[in-house]
Symmetry: C2
Subunit: 151 residues, 2 copies
């Protein structure tokens, strides 16, 4: 077993311990539904920020700060749902997720790091830094989707 | 900016926001999907706590504290999705939600208050108080489902 795979399994087991008391009992279709729910809510709270960063909506510091806080937690909620046992479920998740777990984790971590930068920028009221962070979050989304989600 | 990034930003912006930025542009089916996603994740993070409070799983203070923090935000994410414009969408939401908005809000607020008690109890390490709070959250879930969700 590759160390990357082991690390991922350990990470999954750890997440299992923290989210599902009886992880093995969580059905694959439930895991898929839960991870897709996390993605849906990431979209809900990132969307307005992308509109602001792109000049399509007026900048609202309070919304940015609030949504950054939401995204900081939502960004942590999807990954334990990508269990190899879900690979037979209908979804846009590509097999590369399970073939290259270390690369997948790296992409997820990158996303979380960029969100963290937005949290800091939004708390300091630095609009320019916040907009840059929003752009970087969008890039992290796209990079992961490009590699691990079907078109 | 990569075109993929732009596409992502546009995609996110299009499903944007119940956050007051462009509310009128959010499709009813998107609002339903988003609110159901919030409920799904509430279930993901409440389920293990209910198992602990019910004696079906060993008490894990770290999991309780973490999930309480998650629930404290997730508990706020569903309600703006219950827009009257969604009443024609397929879901288990009952018309009473829009007929009795004050009562619906009261039920939602009750849920949030009970979560707040769990946050406090879990931070203080008071297992007994935490288990009581978990039970009260469960009651708040049930009470709202009884009144506002079809069987």
């Amino acid at each position: 077993m590759k160390s990357g795979t082991l690390a991922t399994l350990v990470a999954f087991a750890s997440c299992a311990a923290t989210t599902g008391v009886a992880f093995a009992q969580v059905k694959p279709e439930t895991l898929v539904k839960q991870r897709q729910s996390a993605m849906t809510l990431q979209g809900k709270y990132f969307g307005p920020l992308a509109a602001m960063a792109g000049g399509k909506a007026p900048y609202d510091a309070a919304v940015v700060a609030r949504n950054a806080t939401y995204l900081d937690l939502l960004g942590k909620m999807a990954w334990d749902g990508f269990d190899p046992g879900t690979s037979g479920e209908k979804s846009r998740a590509l097999p590369e997720i399970y073939k290259e777990p270390a690369k997948f984790k790296e992409a997820a971590d990158k996303f979380q790091v960029e969100i963290g930068k937005l949290v800091v920028a939004s708390k300091s009221g630095n609009e320019s830094a916040a907009k840059n962070a929003i752009g970087d979050i969008g890039k992290a989304c796209s990079a992961c989707h490009d590699d691990f989600r079907s078109k």
